[in-house]
């Protein structure tokens, strides 16, 4: 299969269309624009709908509408836009509507800057909106995964009737890498719960309101059970040379790429280092981390933030071994050499 040198953002959109995505509603923001522009270019050619909304608030509610109508649909943005979408994401989760949301993370808080960060972890993985809900979160680390995990995200979103988020930093979105498109083109589907303006779906209702406390608790417990099933069935991660690792690095997205260089540098010096790369951030590979905590002397977490995912690592490890952290932010990324030095700086 021939490869194509392509930006992560564009690969994501091609993967989405191959998955049967036929609706995109978005608002421009750097560094996610290539997704929106690819949607504008390709979707009308495949019988889909592209619409540039008046705001991210409107965009996510258009996704709510298209998803209610039974269309595989998505939006893409970055931190400031995801903040505005938080309301809509909560409604999507509450109404059990599948969709895919791409967050190509930039620097925050506030306007911050447009350079890459991984500082939307709390916002995306912990919810962001109101109420007891979770979203499935997938974290690609290369352009190939931007296509492949987006394709998977549409399937999982359907399977669990939940919004799924692709959480990628600006590096992963902006860089070009060879991508092989082996994904089969999916035909658009119409789920039986959709409201599409036909006699057969006339009794269908999309709603997140449960006025009676007992009814709402039942609904929330049902969602809770669904998230537990997701945790049981859909947790994904990559082990890189962890078999005999004494130092286990933990990082996702671009951090995991830099950490692979660090692992190689250490292995070249006969230090037994390995990397655990979470691929799903919710559900989080807590069990695997706990297992590695039995063999490792220390964990070392690297993020492009002041430390967000590290909290989940600490919760998983439960004090079985030390968990250290090194982060850069503001659009800076640590070099492999910098991390290497940092690991031994405090020993």
């Amino acid at each position: 299969m021939p490869k194509q040198l392509i930006k992560g953002n564009e690969a994501l959109m091609k993967g989405a269309i191959l998955a049967g995505c036929r609706g995109f509603y978005g608002y421009p923001i750097t560094p996610a624009n290539e997704i929106t522009e690819a949607a504008a270019y390709y979707l009308p050619q495949v019988g889909g709908t592209f619409l540039q909304a008046e705001s991210e608030v409107a965009a996510i509610n258009m996704v709510y509408g298209a998803s209610s109508a039974g269309v595989r649909c998505m939006t893409a943005s970055s931190g400031p836009g995801i903040s505005l979408m938080a309301e809509g994401i909560s409604y999507l989760a509450g109404s059990e509507l599948p969709c895919v949301i791409a967050d190509i993370t930039r620097g925050g808080p506030g306007l911050g800057n447009i350079a890459p960060e991984q500082s939307d972890y709390f916002q995306v993985v912990k919810g962001g909106g109101h109420g007891c809900y979770r979203t499935l979160v997938l974290a690609p680390a290369c352009a190939q995964e931007m296509a492949d995990l987006t394709y998977l995200a549409f399937d999982l979103a359907d399977q669990y009737r939940t919004p799924a988020v692709i959480l990628a930093d600006g590096f992963i979105g902006q860089m070009m890498e060879p991508v092989e498109f082996t994904l089969a083109a999916r035909a658009p589907r119409l789920p039986e719960w959709a409201v599409d303006g036909t006699a057969s779906t006339r009794r269908n209702l999309i709603s997140s309101i449960y006025l009676q406390p007992d009814d709402l608790e039942k609904h929330i417990r049902m969602l809770e059970a669904k998230y537990a099933r997701m945790a049981h069935n859909e947790t994904r991660w990559e082990n890189y040379k962890t078999d005999d690792a004494e130092i286990v690095f933990v990082g996702y997205g671009i951090s995991s790429r830099i950490l692979k260089s660090v692992v190689e540098m250490m292995r070249a010096r006969d230090i037994r280092a390995g990397l655990l790369r979470p691929i799903t951030l919710f559900p989080f590979p807590s069990d695997e981390l706990r297992r590695l905590a039995g063999q490792a002397e220390r964990f070392f977490v690297v993020e492009l933030s002041t430390g967000q995912m590290v909290e989940d690592v600490r919760l998983a490890v439960e004090g079985r071994c030390p968990v250290e952290f090194y982060g850069r932010c503001g659009g800076n990324a640590p070099s492999a050499e910098e991390i290497f030095e940092e690991v031994f700086a405090h020993v």
């Binding site: 609706g23 619409l51 006699a199 309101i209 830099i258």
Partner: protein, 480 residues
């Protein structure tokens, strides 16, 4: 009395029993004398008369009518406060044959959702908006609405609405009628039988506008709210007629139904087998000769210069050719304002092994197209590496003896070739001549794929040949 004659039946598209309601399923949740009950009845009757029940998708808002889906036997979608126009937009675009109706109150449509209604109307989304204006927040207990009248005492304007603090009553129908997009806008009232029958006709015309595919339609209804207004139903209706209507004049505000043509139906989607072509996926295997066994090589290239010097394209060409040559590659740009001014740089990696980090922190090739870039990155170059610099000579304080450094006036050479834009391609030639990193035929083919236009390809080919020749004359050779 055995001969009771049915003279009026409940509309068919209202449920016989309100099963979705928790209790009192034979009656609505609206207060006695509330306009919503009347508005629901009008809408239901019009849906029946038009015979469109199976096609209708009703979008319920937040507010007293949040539970509109209790009553209407149609497809129902309940949405967030103010967002009905956005949801309706996508519902209708997803299923153009459906009849999409939003039902919103004044807080929902005219306050929190003012952006959404404005843009849906301006795009002339082909759905019908019903706007129930009772000049108060009912569900939350009587707060000031954007449509509350000056002087109105509400729970959030306890001393009366003033222009100084709260601005003016918002005239939505007039406001939206100023836009080019909408097709039909009318304000009706629910203040007496005459107003109610007029309003019903307006709802029918609005829905017919949608059924003909003409575009956006809206019917505003001045509606009584006896409970919050603290009036009995009769007084509340009188209030609609005598107090609201003078401020919000009843009547048609916009009718472009005769001027606007129906929208063309979208063409049928292409077969799935067409997707690889449409998505421009690579279909044929590369025909370039790929050496199966290569000596290990590992290029970590940093290219930097001013925006507009072609820094990113140079990096992309190297990465494209590297991929064609069977190497693992990555290309990482700086992005954003750089494309308009300032400095620009990119990181390119070519490797016979797997590329782990796409970031290049210790380059073994630095291509500096201006002096600031040379100064910024010279210290990071790995021992034994190569520096190509755009200039007549390396500034003496930048000279390092543990690396190979070569200055060439790439920009001047490009000027000689007829375009300053091809300086980056002259550099490409020089890089290839100095390193033998990639076969020239493979690079030429990548260039032919990436460069748009025969004219540019021709000049780029001359630029590359010139870069190779210039570099060969220096006899600089680097093995990475």
């Amino acid at each position: 009395m055995s001969e009771l004659k049915v003279i009026h039946e409940k509309a068919e598209c209202l449920y016989g029993n309100y099963d979705r309601k928790g209790e009192l399923q034979h009656q609505t949740h609206y207060c006695p004398g509330c306009g919503h009950g009347v508005a629901h009845k009008l809408l239901a009757e019009v849906i029946d008369e038009l015979g469109i029940r199976d096609r209708v998708i009703l979008v319920s808002p937040v507010g007293c009518s949040v539970f509109a889906y209790y009553y209407f036997d149609v497809g129902n979608v309940q949405v967030a406060h103010g967002r009905a126009p956005a949801v309706a937009t996508a519902l209708k675009r997803s299923h153009p044959e459906s009849i999409v109706i939003t039902y919103q109150g004044d807080g929902d449509l005219a306050a929190i959702g003012s952006a959404e209604i404005m843009h849906a109307a301006n795009r002339s989304e082909c759905y019908t908006a019903l706007f129930v204006n009772n000049a108060i927040y009912g569900m939350t207990g009587g707060q000031c609405a954007p449509t509350s009248l000056l002087g109105d005492k509400t729970t959030t304007t306890p001393f009366g609405r003033t222009t100084a603090n709260d601005g003016y009553p918002l005239k939505v129908s007039e406001l939206l009628s100023a836009l080019d997009g909408p097709v039909f806008i009318e304000r009706g009232g629910l203040g007496n039988a005459k107003q109610i029958l007029q309003t019903k006709r307006a709802i029918k015309r609005a829905l017919e506008t949608q059924m003909k595919g003409l575009g956006f339609s809206l019917v505003e209804m001045l509606s009584p709210c006896p409970t919050i207004w603290k009036m009995d139903p009769v007084d509340a209706q009188r209030h609609v007629r005598e107090v609201l209507a003078p401020i919000y004049p009843i009547g048609n505000k916009l009718d472009r139904t005769k001027d606007r043509a129906p929208r063309a139906a979208a063409p049928p989607p292409p077969p799935l087998s067409e997707l690889p072509r449409i998505l421009k996926l690579p279909v044929a295997p590369t025909d370039a000769p790929v050496e199966l066994v290569k000596p290990d090589s590992e290029y970590r290239i940093k290219i930097a210069g001013f925006g507009g010097q072609g820094v990113l394209l140079l990096g992309q060409l190297i990465a494209e050719a590297g991929m064609d040559d069977g190497l693992d590659v990555s290309w990482l740009p700086s992005y954003g304002p750089e494309m308009r001014s300032g400095t620009s740089n990119c990181h390119v990696r070519l490797s016979t092994k797997h590329v782990d980090s796409p970031l290049v922190s210790r380059p073994n090739v630095l291509i500096a197209l201006n002096e600031p870039s040379l100064r910024k990155f010279i210290a990071t170059v790995d021992t034994g590496g190569l520096v190509l610099y755009n200039g007549d000579s390396i500034p003496t304080d930048c000279i390092r003896t543990d690396i190979t450094m070569q200055a060439l006036p790439f920009a001047s050479i490009a000027d000689e070739l007829g375009s300053p834009k091809v300086a980056n391609i002259v550099v490409l030639g020089a890089f290839l001549a100095a390193t033998n990193a990639l076969p020239l035929a493979v690079v030429d083919r990548a260039m032919a794929r990436v460069v748009k236009g025969e004219k540019w390809l021709e000049i780029d080919r001359r630029a590359m040949a010139r870069g190779i020749a210039e570099m060969q004359s220096t006899e600089v050779k680097v093995h990475v």
